[in-house]
């Protein structure tokens, strides 16, 4: 998600939205950096945050398809952001209560940033959804195309179940009603409808991705793969 947003640097539809989206990108990179640093510490041996980010192959990336969907147009960027933020905020509220102190600390820090993100994306969903005929049309198209990818957010993998049972991870069942309520309230005000289409069957959390991820990783990992262990 952070990488997708960074692609918009210098390409946003206006200076303000360009800066906003790259600011959000930076927050997400900062947050994931904290998780990667912690993961590297747990893994020990030669693991570093850079190796985790730059040397993992696509199958080792465990994320939903939603966050790697392309920046088709500004409507897609905003709708993808909104779906993600509506999920991310209640997720962090759960993780803040994690029994793992580091995860709880990262979540507590990230919540403050995520609130700003959700405010931003909700405001744009309303403005464009309830805007002109053209903007409404584009927003509804984006909602129709992206909503089927949101079901994966709530699919529990074995790891997630185990993490939740042990009080480390988040319980997706608690997040779901909060997420649904946010969608309902904001989309209604934006005069947008949730499409009645079946969920896309995706296995991003198990490492099976769309072809888009390959292109993202090619750009993201180019430097480390060309010049191994390069540092600033």
């Amino acid at each position: 998600m952070g990488h997708r947003l960074s692609e918009l640097c210098g390409h946003g539809p206006s200076l303000e939205t360009d800066i906003a989206l790259t600011n959000i990108s930076l927050d997400l990179f900062g947050q994931v950096r904290s998780y990667f640093q912690y993961a590297a510490k747990i893994k020990g041996e030669e693991a570093t945050e850079d190796r985790i980010a730059f040397l993992r192959t696509d199958r080792d990336y465990r994320h939903t398809w939603l966050v790697e969907r392309p920046n088709t147009d500004f409507a897609h960027v905003i709708v993808r952001q909104f779906f993600f933020d509506a999920f991310h905020l209640p997720l962090l509220e759960q993780l803040e209560k994690s029994k793992d102190e580091t995860i709880a600390a990262i979540a507590a820090k990230s919540i403050k940033e995520s609130r700003y993100h959700l405010r931003f994306s909700s405001a744009w969903v309303k403005r464009l959804g309830d805007g002109t005929e053209e903007s409404h049309q584009r927003m509804q198209t984006a909602v129709n195309e992206l909503h089927p990818f949101t079901h994966e957010l709530f699919e529990n993998t074995e790891t997630e179940k185990e993490m939740a049972e042990n009080g480390i991870g988040a319980n997706l069942e608690i997040i779901k009603p909060v997420y649904n309520q946010t969608l309902l309230t904001v989309l209604e005000e934006a005069t947008l409808k949730i499409p009645d289409v079946p969920a896309r069957k995706t296995d991003g959390k198990k490492g099976i991705h769309a072809e888009q991820l390959g292109f993202i990783l090619a750009e993201l990992q180019y430097m480390q793969r060309t010049y191994p262990d390069l540092t600033w």
């Binding site: 800066i19 930076l26 904290s34 600390a105 990262i106 405010r119 931003f120």
Partner: protein, 167 residues
């Protein structure tokens, strides 16, 4: 605790820390910003605990490097450690820091309630740093850095940054 207590430290250490600033806001020292949480001194070794303002703030690495360089120069063996909890809040910016921000042209953060009124409800309460008028409007919730929003004064037309409240 607003920031680490420098009283028990040698004055050269306290002075050095007071001189290190955020590279994006050169008038605000790391102490006035409240990001230095703890300083432990034992013999020649010194440990500085630093907390980030925003997770992705690129200035943190620079500040950590500046702290290390300044204290190493005084002959200490310096280690800077990043701590995440408790999470930083704009309440930790000192009164001196707030005054320095205003003077520099960045409106200091309001309380969290007032901040919401300004950023979400569009209430005109953020004071222009140029002419002092509160007849201002938000141009963008995200400004030149992660911690700021962009405003413009409707009275004197001057654009200025507002340091967003973070709690």
């Amino acid at each position: 605790m607003v920031a680490a207590d420098l009283q028990d430290l040698p004055s050269e250490v306290a002075d050095a820390l007071m001189k290190i600033t955020d590279p994006e806001i050169p008038v605000l020292s790391v102490m006035d910003m409240g990001v230095v949480r703890e300083v432990q001194l034992s013999g020649e070794k010194i440990l500085v605990k630093l907390t980030p303002t925003y997770s992705g703030c690129p200035a943190m690495d620079t500040m950590a490097a500046d702290i290390k360089m300044a204290l190493d120069k005084l002959g200490y063996e310096t280690r800077v450690e990043l701590v995440l909890a408790p999470a930083w809040t704009t309440d930790w910016i000192t009164a001196e820091g707030r005054a320095a921000l205003e003077k520099y042209g960045i409106a200091a953060p309001l309380g969290s309630e007032a901040d919401k009124l300004a950023l979400i409800d569009g209430k005109r309460i953020v004071k222009c740093t140029n002419c002092g008028s509160t007849d201002t409007r938000m141009v963008s919730q995200f400004g030149s850095t992660a911690c700021k929003a962009l405003f413009q004064c409707r009275e004197c037309l001057e654009p200025f940054d507002y340091f967003k409240c973070l709690k």
